[in-house]
Symmetry: C2
Subunit: 516 residues, 2 copies
């Protein structure tokens, strides 16, 4: 980590430092430190199976290749690096990309404006970030509707209020009430102003990525940004085996600025990859290798995260399906493959296809989240709030999922075998046929021994019924309203805030509204 | 396995053999073979952590000991085996119990009357059995109410109709409309008549266990039963560190008859064990070792399953809580410990505390089921239908959970790396920027490539809304009604059926009704 002094807003004297101190004092909201796991990685593939997939990915890269569209600069980078280029198709000799990615760090810090909330991405660490990308929002009161900047800010505030979401995320919903060519400014500002957790930048056009970097320089200081990662950004491949101009354009901006890219094949198996787990892994490995290596051609040493996002497909409707066994196998095997490459890994989340936050949503989300934590996913986008295949950002589901993240955080700590954890004094004190409710060990450990949900109902049937027989979504509805009502923005240096506001206003005024 | 000839009902000529042939022909219902895993076991403890717990369990057994209450015969067995006995307290030298359990099989077959549905318990196998024990039932139409024999039979029929429940289970609900001292006869009969899957026997009194064995002899033939396991039985410890007369009485009956016992510490951590994961594991290991070893004193070689059932506890209400991280750690570490003993392991299920089949129920169930499958649980009771901390057997949740079991069955198959699984022909055929929907590999694999849920909704939002915007429980409600309407009982040899009916009638007539 760079020295604290380097990270100073260009606004008032003292800049970010004062803001950070203020933030530390603002009190009520606690955020758990990112997870540092104390349990082994779950594996689903043998060495032999992994080698087959690696060999096949090498074959795909050498024989089929990857297309990089509409970007002469990138084609030129590949030529200079020794790849075989025919038009926009680039082919790679065996081992070339594995060699190129060696300059990328296996673990890096993404700095938050509140240093206590900076996260380590890679290794045995897991960082939870919220849902990304939905055009719609849903809550129990107003139902399903297009997202607005008010919804966006509300979700940022709720994520800030969550103990177990370590990261503020990016496009927590699309604020469709703001013109497409300007909404990135409001989104980045909201993350910077209404939260002090690390966040994501815009990738929908290279100049919007430039705006993100510029605003980061205002918040963190220019020198600090050049030497440290302060924003992480989602670069999707257009599977199969294509990277387009837009995504590659944003990748270049961020890599040049030494900021982190997540290069993610986004795959619906059977449509965008073969209808098989091993075939999907092969293609995703090839695509991700090419994208990650490109960041290193742009700026060796720039942080990059290897991502895999996969859904299976419904035979009946052709729709992507989530929480099914094949994506769980893909993400777990994917983590094994990427660990062998020495890069941080992104996958998982609380993904589901359900239209509402019901049992289907919960089964599907749990059957993505739990494998992802077991597999050792380092950066987990969509950890909370995702509904309807990613079309909807749900207020209630955000709360429900965040509660599950707390459980996962505890689970990943593993088994405490300190003397207090062993509790031999309790067993000796109590003995056969007695109970542990009043013993010394229980009295010492009662409050922290077990994860306590804030969403689940643990009362008796009669009590639950007398309290209105609420279901989980209704309790979550009560909770998000309470959290929003209690929300207080983290303090920020007024100079920095002014500079950010001025930047947004100036950029918005400079061009007419556009819907693309 | 014994020869088929040995398993013959004493009823008509040909007995069981004809029944089996008929059953095989009865058609429509398919049951998946029990799971034989093709993925590694998930682990949460290191060798060092396991050794600490094992050492502590040895200390508990040597210093604190276990109480066996009101059973002079058992105390005598322990004395003869060399344990240190003081009154009802029995203490064990280090290693004594580990030595005794060596005569128990590490894996055994539980035979079903339909041999195609016999299950292998132990090793890399997992067998799913439904919920056990609830006094109440719940469905969306009639709400929560006491269970009846009609409910019991309905649930047996639904489990029979389920592809992924490999086992008919035992007390799928308490039929409270039948006197306590007679209902075991109707329950065992229902499993034998309305299903052809393996099942569980009565443990609520030694003579009810004797009835179970007697009925098994009618169904399978005396000689076959003496040499083979045809019924499995749940023997709970009274944690902490007590076995009572009732449970030990049933254990003795079944072990003597060479039938399988599941010896399970049933623990709410913080009340019945220390408020810590390692402390609970230590106590459960000690209790289970003593109970499992006892089966081997009764009849060396009798099949026995080491069980662990644990819940955490709510700080607010003192209620047991499920689907929380601590029980997941306990069951996974428990599987590691029991694997080292060389015994089959029972734990897990689709446990939850929720009052209704909503998101809480699904999150909690998934966060028990998935770790249990990962851990390699061999016999998984409560795999489907459990609600409200085990007080309620839910028609809808049975359907919803069974769907998840199908996902787990697929997940445990792991990654197919056959040539067809690798799908290199598809990647070569399609190439960059195209789609896989019509390619040869997809056409060959489309129907089986991905698990297809029968409960989840995968349609568009508009389609889902036009179909009534049903939630998961409502869809499950439709499905169980359809399955019950379609149900056809598997055929049975008429002579065997008559003999079973006569036994039940005779035993019921012999004593007055009693409520204990």
């Amino acid at each position: 980590m760079a020295s604290e002094g380097g990270r100073r807003g260009r606004g008032g004297a003292g800049g970010g430092r004062e803001a950070r101190r203020a933030s530390r004092q603002s009190g009520a909201v606690t955020t758990a430190k990112y997870i540092t796991r104390n349990i082994p990685f779950t594996e689903v593939c043998s060495e032999e199976q992994l080698e087959i997939i690696e060999r096949n990915a090498d074959t795909v890269l050498a024989e089929v290749g990857i297309e990089f569209r509409d970007d002469a600069e990138v084609i030129d980078l590949w030529k200079k690096a020794g790849a075989k280029v025919e038009g926009e198709r680039v082919r790679f000799e065996k081992g070339m990309l594995q060699e190129l990615i060696k300059t990328a760090p296996s673990q890096f810090t993404q700095h938050a404006r509140n240093p206590a909330k900076s996260v380590e991405i890679g290794g045995g660490n897991t960082v939870f970030a919220p849902v990304y990308g939905p055009p719609f929002v849903r809550d129990l009161d107003q139902g399903r509707r297009y997202g607005t900047i008010e919804d966006f800010e509300n979700i940022v505030k709720l994520v800030y209020s969550s103990t177990y979401l370590h990261h503020s995320g990016g496009t927590v919903c699309e604020p469709v009430d703001i013109p497409v060519n300007k909404r990135h400014l409001d989104m980045v500002y909201a993350h910077m102003r209404y939260s002090d957790k690390p966040f994501m930048g815009s990738v929908t056009a290279p100049d919007r990525a430039e705006d993100t970097v510029a605003m980061c320089r205002l918040l963190f200081g220019e020198e600090f940004v050049d030497q440290n990662c302060v924003v992480i950004n989602l670069i999707n491949a257009n599977s199969p085996m294509v990277f387009d101009e837009t995504m590659v354009g944003a990748l270049k901006v961020y890599a040049r600025a030494n900021q982190a890219c997540i290069v993610s094949p986004f795959i619906i198996s059977g449509a965008m990859s073969p209808a098989s787990v091993a075939g999907t892994l092969t293609q995703a490995l090839a695509e991700g290798l090419a994208g990650c290596a490109l960041t290193q051609l742009v700026r060796p040493g720039a942080p990059v995260v290897f991502g895999m996002f996969s859904a299976s497909m419904s035979m009946q409707s052709g729709a992507p399906t989530f929480g099914t066994p094949e994506p769980a196998l893909i993400l777990t095997a994917g983590a094994q493959l990427v660990r062998r490459l020495g890069l941080p890994f992104r996958s998982g989340g609380s993904l589901c296809g359900s239209k509402i936050p019901d049992a289907q949503a919960a089964y599907e989300s749990a059957h993505t989240l739990m494998p992802a934590v077991g597999a050792g996913v380092n950066f987990m986008l969509h950890s909370a709030g995702w509904l309807e295949g990613g079309l909807v950002s749900s207020y209630e589901k955000l709360i429900m999922d965040a509660d599950q993240l707390g459980m996962m955080q505890r689970y990943a700590q593993g088994v405490d075998v300190t003397e207090e954890g062993q509790a031999m004094d309790a067993i000796r004190e109590v003995g056969p046929g007695k109970h542990y409710l009043g013993c010394g060990h229980t009295n010492r450990n009662f409050e922290t021994a077990f994860y306590q949900s804030k969403v689940a109902d643990y009362g008796s049937f009669e009590q639950w019924e007398s309290e209105g027989a609420l279901d989980t979504a209704q309790r979550a509805n009560n909770r998000w309203k309470k959290l929003l009502a209690q929300y207080e923005a983290p303090e920020i240096d007024p100079g920095v805030e002014e500079a950010l506001k001025a930047y947004v206003a100036e950029k918005k005024a400079a061009v007419p509204d556009a819907s693309y």
